[in-house]
């Protein structure tokens, strides 16, 4: 099953390789990963999308917790969340396809952020399904390049994944 994990880490060099090394060294897979500083500049947040059975996910969460540079780990799966991804797409914009591109941009509430002869660069945000649908529809028109950020995710309502200390983990039982 797919899981989205939110991880607060020390904002210092080498942290990314500690986390990615944990995944590669133990044969866990990363579907997407995004990192950026939080409000507190000494802390970064990583949003990791991964998949595996319950036992693997449990190991991933525990192993992440075990890293000294990791401050907090929260599995957002099963939590009501808002999920967003940003995608930048370069599509062909020939006279006969332009109207279709503009129509799709309108429907998906995307934005054209750069215009060149015969090419538009479009910016779009949404959850993964929306991004995929958008790309699907653009494909016949001719996509030249796609850049996606990977997923970021935040809990709905007032709950926050704030920088509290790591919870002692009691395993299952």
């Amino acid at each position: 099953m797919r899981h989205t994990i939110s991880v607060l880490v020390e904002n210092e060099f080498g942290v990314l390789s500690r986390v990615s090394g944990l995944f590669s060294g133990r044969g866990f897979n990363i579907e997407s990963l995004s990192v950026a500083e939080t409000l507190d500049p000494s802390v970064s947040r990583m949003t990791i999308v991964t998949s595996g059975n319950d036992q693997i996910i449990e190991q991933i969460l525990k192993q992440l917790n075990k890293l000294i540079s990791v401050i907090k780990v929260v599995d957002l799966t099963g939590v009501e969340t808002v999920d967003r991804e940003l995608v930048l797409v370069k599509v062909n914009a020939e006279p006969e396809t332009k109207p279709e591109v503009l129509r799709l941009v309108d429907i998906f509430r995307a934005k054209i952020v750069d215009v060149a002869p015969r090419c538009y660069t479009i910016e779009m945000t949404g959850d993964e399904a929306k991004v995929n649908a958008f790309l699907q529809l653009l494909r016949p028109i001719g996509i030249r390049e796609v850049v996606r950020t990977g997923l970021v995710s935040i809990a709905r309502g007032g709950n926050v994944v704030a920088q509290a200390d790591k919870m002692p983990h009691q395993g299952r039982g």
């Binding site: 190991q59 525990k62 002692p168 009691q170």
Partner: protein, 557 residues
């Protein structure tokens, strides 16, 4: 830096100098408090720090230069990591501005050791040095212990800053759980009371946590038979009637049968390694499992656990003792499981560890280990190399106290035992320290004989010289139709002459009758000694569970 180490109570450093650490060595030269042991190879230095830590319970310290000095430590660090041994390794690094330029003697040791350290640091600013040193010792020695590496660029060592050693280390992402959850402990005891065939399975965690006396008390209260892993040797008295010996691939018949037939496993500071479980799907098929470990990642990793308890074993055992000691229920439980204890004893009686002793024939390595036990009255610190020598040292010597059996369990590093013995001797100057070695392994760090001689560290190396990479040959014999590919070692070198060339004593036994006398002589000399014992090359380690087979499928003698 030298001041920080001294203030942290470090009294000895094992190291090897080089360009990047000249500044530290210059300071060491002036220091009267910090002793430095000059090894002959950086791998030796790390194993010595490791042996020092295992024997004493203190954190071992090691200092090396950049590049090749640092990369030479990797095997030692990985060895300590796999066995959760607290050591701090300081490596020099090229000056900050040159990092990343492929400068002379530059190696990305922080990157290289990331997966085999508990944590590591590159110190970028002299201001951070004291704090990082404090944190490094804190991380290495607390929670589940492990090696920490601190990489220090030359310019950071060269510049001066005001010295402030923080009183406390605070690492916000690090909060080990020491106290076992009382509810979980209660559930464990409740589950235990329902059972009829319990087994305590304990490992290195019991030694690291200093929980031996609690373990003995708890097992005694309830009369539960105990087995240990290789790493757990000495955690429970080897001479106790409840002790079944080691389990797993070369475990006793009794321990493997007991674990396979029990209805409850109390796993105390052990991690269900594949050498212990055999074929995992058929491991302990009738048992519920209570697993106590300080590291949550160890729990549910290899086997499903019914009651997990995260915490320090000593604390958890204290709680368990409190719940049972002096109670009527405990007495009746002990009574109830009498038939089980009898069954266990029967297995031990019908299939003890054995070998065919030849009083006038070839020397049996098992006999040598038994003689070491007899001569030292079980009071020595035994280190081992890896292979058959390691298994025989585990099987035929009874370890009554913790920190007396030092062996590379997790990584299985040949060449560990000799430097570890030297480190242990530094920690315990009054103790007899014996490395039970193979003729292959001893050659992997044999250069450290110079260290032993230079510092008059009277370690004894007993070489079970079978002219072979015995353990590998054993697998070839059993599973590769006896094709001994690259496992025959012609008897080179002459270990007696070699010892003498280094200024140590050398002895040799070629017949069974000589063994006792030669061991006695070797143990009696003042300095280090090599005792070369030409053993029967055809001897194999039994019982043996072939890799991937269930524990009940033991090959017996």
């Amino acid at each position: 830096m030298v001041r920080a180490l001294t203030d942290l109570g470090v009294d000895v450093v094992f190291g090897y100098p080089g360009g990047a650490v000249l500044n530290i060595y210059d300071e060491l030269f002036k220091s009267t408090k910090l002793r430095h042991i000059l090894t002959r190879h950086e791998q030796g230095a790390v194993h010595m720090a490791d042996g020092y830590a295992r024997a004493s319970g203190k954190t071992g310290v090691c200092l090396v230069t950049s590049g090749p000095g640092a990369t030479n430590t990797v095997t030692g660090i990985a060895t300590a990591y796999m066995d959760s041994i607290p050591i701090v390794v300081f490596s020099g690094q090229v000056p900050t501005l040159m990092i990343g330029n492929d400068a002379f003697q530059e190696a990305d040791i922080v990157g290289i050791t990331r997966p085999c350290t508990k944590h590591n640091y590159l110190v970028k600013d002299t201001k951070d040095l004291a704090r990082i040193i404090k944190e490094a010792f804190f991380l290495a020695s607390t929670g589940r212990p492990g090696p920490v590496l601190v990489d220090i660029p030359k310019d950071v060592l060269a510049s001066a800053e005001e010295y402030v050693l923080p009183k406390e280390a605070h690492v916000r992402g690090y909060h080990p759980t020491y106290e076992g959850h009382p509810k979980q402990v209660e559930s464990a005891i409740r589950l235990l009371k329902e059972k009829e065939r319990p087994v305590i399975y304990t490992g290195g965690g019991a030694i690291l946590s200093g929980a031996s006396s609690e373990l003995a008390e708890f097992a005694g209260i309830l009369g539960i038979p105990v087995t240990t892993t290789l790493m757990g040797m000495g955690a429970f008295p080897g001479t106790d009637p409840l002790y079944m010996g080691m389990l797993g691939m070369h475990g006793t018949y009794c321990a493997n049968m007991a674990i396979s037939h029990c209805d409850l496993i109390l796993a105390l500071g052990a991690r269900f390694d594949d050498r212990v479980t055999g074929k995992i799907d058929e491991f302990a098929p009738h048992a519920k499992i209570v697993h106590v470990d300080i590291d949550p990642t160890s729990i549910q990793k290899n086997v499903p656990v019914h009651i997990p308890i995260v915490g320090d074993l000593k604390d958890v055992l204290k709680k368990m003792i409190k719940l049972t000691k002096g109670t009527k229920e405990a007495a009746s439980f002990r009574e109830k499981i009498t038939p089980w204890r009898e069954q266990v004893r029967k297995w031990a009686r019908t299939h003890p560890l054995s070998y065919k002793h030849e009083p006038k024939g070839k020397i049996k390595p098992q006999y040598v280990v038994e003689q070491i036990y007899a001569l030292t009255k079980g009071q020595a610190i035994i280190t081992t190399e890896v292979g058959q020598n390691q298994m025989w040292a585990a099987q035929f010597y009874k370890y009554d106290s913790p920190r007396t059996f030092l062996s590379s369990g997790g990584l299985g590093t040949m060449g560990y035992g000799f430097p570890a013995a030297i480190g242990a001797q530094v920690a315990m100057p009054g103790k007899l320290v014996v490395d039970v070695a193979g003729d292959g392994s001893i050659q992997m760090n044999i250069q450290e004989l110079a260290t032993a001689v230079q510092y008059r560290l009277p370690v004894k190396v007993v070489i079970l010289n079978n002219g072979a990479l015995g353990m590998v040959r054993q697998w070839q014999e059993l599973f590769y139709q006896g094709k001994y590919s690259q496992t025959c070692l012609p008897r080179i070198p002459d270990f007696v002459k070699l010892a003498e060339a280094y200024g140590a004593a050398g002895f040799r036994a070629t017949r069974t009758e000589e063994v006792k006398g030669v061991l006695k002589k070797g143990f009696a000399v003042d300095g280090p000694a090599f005792i070369d014992i030409l053993t029967d090359p055809n001897e194999m380690v039994y019982p043996m569970v072939p890799a991937g087979a269930p524990l009940t499928k033991m090959l017996l003698v």
